[in-house]
């Protein structure tokens, strides 16, 4: 029997973004011994990239805001297929979670009377996003990190989990390797929390960081947990399109929140052309009103640039497809125009959007205070993920919890900007609390050494494969294939062909070979990631095929309308007995009367 490094914890948290850190803090606070694993260095997780803010109905800027409005906004944005209980908990608890960050040292931008400032964002009725310029994610992760390191949590940096281990039905540990030396490690734990973030790296054009390879989705799936809503993948409307090196890099919605407008190559502000029925009442129908809204006029309605992301992204695609795009295949996003309205607009832009100013200046040779940006949709966020119990965040596998982007439910068919950072806090905390509780009631489960041996052999296979296929090439082919076949506009035959391609890519993955040694070998790491990327790609494709309608982020050219029948169900994906992916529809439980009334009132 090979000797592996072994660790034991009450609660093992996999992932150290906002969700993982918040969960670890809570579990430790509940008295559990906690291990926290991340595949990068601490503080570098994808959360660090978040820009615009954290949505929470603090009502600091507009006192008409409260949890009910936030709840109704979230449900409307999600096209009512959200897990309404999660949407409720999220809206109720987000303010407390944000205030807690302040108590832990976060320094948010302030209102004139010294409270946490909040800004406008798409789909939110009132200014709701607590923020720090356009680097809110950094503030959040640093606050949690700096607080977390004093809570007695064991942090395992640059360790990557390859599989979950089970004892009967329940989860009992994780099989991992450390990147520095390439040695295998076995973690035993009474409860495990997945907080591994998103899947953007399955696509060619994405705003996501290196971390986002859908590991948690895949780990849970292969351990027998159910995934839900996988067809809902958010394409953020505004990513950079030029130069090629930065294609996909995010341009925060904050630009539009501060008054930025979208125009086509005719100089026309095309977002006014089509405003969806259920948003008409709250959307400005002229430019003047839209501008007043961005400047804090409470009587004004928001400009159509701040409609939900799925809608804005599709309008942009339409402009480009119909030949009204920019030279590099995007549309224009212009904030510089506000100099017509504001004195010292240049300073204002630099102060409100410092990272955007630098990003374009340094990487795109564009001065956003003087000229428009070119933008287009980019793969951004997955609404789908591990299916969890709303209150406890436990998955369908006992002892396995999930929180943050890798869990699903709160966002339904489309996530509102800012609702992720708050989701990380609210459900990170809940997962931490209930995982610790679960751990208190259990003893450690067993680990099957034969299974571990098999996992280790599989993981080392690429070294034996020689140079049959290159992991980077397979990864690139997958990304291009998904971008093309299961992108923003979907259609049956393309997705069927995606499934065929995926079969081939699975075969190729078995053959990929890597050179060099086990210590810090990115080629090997890429080879091991492929399985996760393929698993989530297949889940997205199958779920998108199953949902024969267009709703939120899922747009089917062959079924362009919403269907009442599909509005009542979620799609669930799981691993069948034979190892093949299974799918079914499940009826959404009836909403509580009280919540129904809130939605009616806010219509």
């Amino acid at each position: 029997m090979a000797e592996y490094q072994r660790h034991e914890h009450d609660v093992l948290v996999i992932g150290a973004g906002g969700a993982g850190l918040r969960a670890a803090i809570e579990s430790a606070h509940s008295g559990a011994s906690v291990g926290l694993i991340c595949k990068s260095l601490l503080g570098k997780a994808h959360t660090v990239m978040a820009e615009g803010g954290i949505a929470a109905a603090l009502a600091n800027v507009d006192d008409r805001d409260n949890w009910k409005v936030h709840f109704a906004d979230t449900m409307r944005g999600g096209q009512y297929v959200n897990n309404w209980r999660m949407a409720e908990l999220h809206a109720r608890e987000a303010p407390e979670r944000v205030r807690e960050l302040e108590a832990w040292g976060a320094v948010f931008d302030r209102t004139k009377d010294g409270r946490i400032l909040q800004r406008n964002f798409g789909g939110h009725k009132y200014p709701r996003l607590a923020h720090v310029g356009d680097r809110t994610g950094l503030e959040m992760i640093r606050t949690l990190q700096d607080h977390g390191i004093h809570q007695g949590i064991d942090v395992h940096m640059e360790v990557c989990v390859l599989a979950l281990l089970k004892d009967g039905a329940r989860v009992s540990g994780a099989f991992a390797y450390d990147r520095e030396r390439g040695r295998f490690r076995i973690f035993r734990a009474k409860a495990i929390i997945l907080a591994t973030g998103g899947i953007g790296k399955a696509y060619k054009i994405t705003s996501n960081s290196w971390d986002c390879t859908g590991d948690g989705h895949a780990l849970a799936y292969h351990a027998g947990a159910e995934l839900i809503d996988m067809e809902y993948l958010q394409f953020h409307p505004t990513g950079m399109v030029w130069p090629p090196s930065v294609r996909g890099m995010l341009v925060t919605e904050g630009v539009r929140g501060e008054g930025g407008i979208l125009t086509n190559n005719d100089g026309q502000r095309f977002m006014f052309d089509f405003i969806p029925e259920n948003y008409k009442a709250q959307t400005a129908d002229n430019e003047e009103e839209g501008w007043r809204y961005t400047q804090g006029d409470k009587e004004a309605r928001r400009p159509p640039e701040l409609l939900t992301r799925d809608h804005v992204a599709r309008c942009i695609v339409r402009e480009i497809k119909e030949g009204r795009g920019t030279p590099h295949g995007g549309v224009y996003l212009d904030i510089s125009w506000i100099k017509k309205r504001l004195p010292k607009a240049e300073e204002h832009i630099k102060r409100k959007l410092p990272s955007m100013y630098h990003q374009f200046k340094q990487l795109g040779d564009v001065d956003i205070t003087r000229e428009p940006m070119e933008v287009g949709p980019t793969t951004h966020y997955i609404m789908g993920g591990v299916r969890v119990d709303a209150d406890t965040q436990m998955s369908s596998v006992p002892g396995l919890f999930a929180a943050g982007e890798c869990a699903a439910g709160i966002n339904g068919a489309n996530r509102l900007g800012g609702n992720s950072l708050s989701d990380l806090l609210v459900f990170g905390k809940r997962a931490g609390e209930f995982a610790a509780k679960f751990a208190r009631e259990q003893s450690l489960g067993g680990v099957d050494e034969a299974v571990v041996k098999k996992l280790a052999d599989e993981a080392l296979q690429p070294f034996a494969n020689g140079d049959k296929d290159n992991p980077y090439t397979v990864q690139r082919d997958l990304q291009e294939m998904m971008q093309h076949n299961v992108g923003i506009v979907r259609e049956e035959s393309e997705m069927q062909s995606a499934l065929e391609h995926l079969k081939v890519l699975w075969e190729r993955t078995k053959e990929v070979g890597v050179t060099g040694h086990r210590d810090f070998n990115p080629g090997w790491h890429t080879a091991l990631d492929l399985k996760n990327l393929l698993t989530v790609s297949e889940a997205i494709t199958r779920a998108a095929l199953e949902r024969k309608e267009s709703r939120g982020a899922q747009f089917r050219e062959d079924y362009p309308e919403k269907s009442a029948e599909f509005g009542k169900v979620n799609t669930i994906v799981w691993k069948g007995e034979d190892g093949g992916m299974q799918i079914r529809r499940e009826t959404i439980p009836e909403m509580r009367e009280e919540l129904k009334r809130i939605i009616e009132e806010m219509k």
Binding site: S40, L41, L42, G43, K44, H46, V48, M49, R99, E102, A103, W104, G105, V107, D109, R110, D113, G114, R115, I116, G133, R135, G137, L138, R142, D146, H147, I149, H150, V155, M157, S209, W210, D211, W242, P243, P244, S245, V246, M249, S355, H358, Q359, Q362, L363, G364, N470, Y472, T473, R476, V514, G516, H517, D519, F520, N521, P522, G523, W524, T526
Partner: protein, 253 residues
């Protein structure tokens, strides 16, 4: 297509060498793109850290043509491509492999710094009031992405290896951010002088020059901290009085 040669350090603590790799050059390309291209084609096992490729995470620090830089924010258009571009790991920390160093010392140092300790909330709902002008400075320091480039160039660490006596510019601004936080009530001045070695800094400003977040590390953080330390040492009572006044005064009402 135009091409460029990258002379990349390959090896580990036991030894290594520079190796040349040629790649195509396209518009807007950054050094990290070149590294990725080389990884994907010629050297699968070439080790480097990166996460965001947007200058936000501080993972991809390296020395490019001898200058400490974030690889993802260094455009090829600003480098002379008629000769090889050298890319090597930062020097202040032990080498692990290729472009990766062991930066764990930084994490250990941070853990030893006394954590944030807020005054009791100002309002019954458990919240505080702070004016924007009172937090501007702290927010500047909190822009830090922990790339450790400032640590890399500071001679106290890089040349004199004072890891046990000096915390380096990154953590001096970390202490400054805590000390200047309007809500904080902790006192960290004694450690600054005794164990964190602020006295070693002789204000060369090398750290400030390389900071990708343009934080005024020396002028805004280290010099004011040095002043506080000196005040504290020679006039403990006066300092205490000032500190109390400062913390109260910034509450805003």
């Amino acid at each position: 297509m135009k091409t460029a040669v990258f002379r990349i350090w390959r090896g580990n603590a036991a030894g290594g060498e520079f190796r040349d790799y040629e790649t195509g050059v396209s518009e807007g390309m950054v050094v990290l793109d070149a590294i990725h291209h080389i990884q994907a084609t010629e050297a699968n096992d070439l080790a480097c850290r990166w996460n965001c490729k947007a200058g936000k995470c501080g993972s991809c620090s390296a020395e490019v043509n001898g200058m400490p830089r974030l690889m993802c924010m260094t455009r090829l258009s600003e480098l002379p491509l008629d000769k090889p571009v050298t890319v090597e790991p930062i020097k202040a920390f032990p080498l692990l492999k290729d472009l990766i160093t062991d930066v764990s010392w930084n994490f250990r140092v941070k853990k030893k710094i006394k954590k944030f300790k807020p005054r009791p909330p100002d309002a019954p709902d458990g919240t505080w009031r702070m004016q924007q002008e009172d937090i501007d400075r702290v927010q500047e320091f909190r822009k830090c992405i922990e790339c450790f480039l400032c640590q890399d160039v500071c001679h106290v660490l890089r040349d004199h290896r004072k890891y046990d006596e000096f915390i380096g510019p990154r953590f001096l601004i970390y202490v400054a951010a805590l000390e200047m936080h309007p809500l904080d009530t902790e006192d960290r001045l004694e450690e600054l002088r005794e164990t964190q070695g602020i006295g070693y800094c002789n204000i060369t400003k090398c750290c400030t020059k390389v900071c990708p977040e343009s934080i005024h590390i020396t002028d805004n953080a280290i010099i004011p901290l040095k002043e506080r330390v000196v005040d504290d040492y020679y006039d403990p009572l006066g300092w205490l009085w000032k500190k109390m006044r400062r913390k109260k005064g910034s509450g805003g009402s």
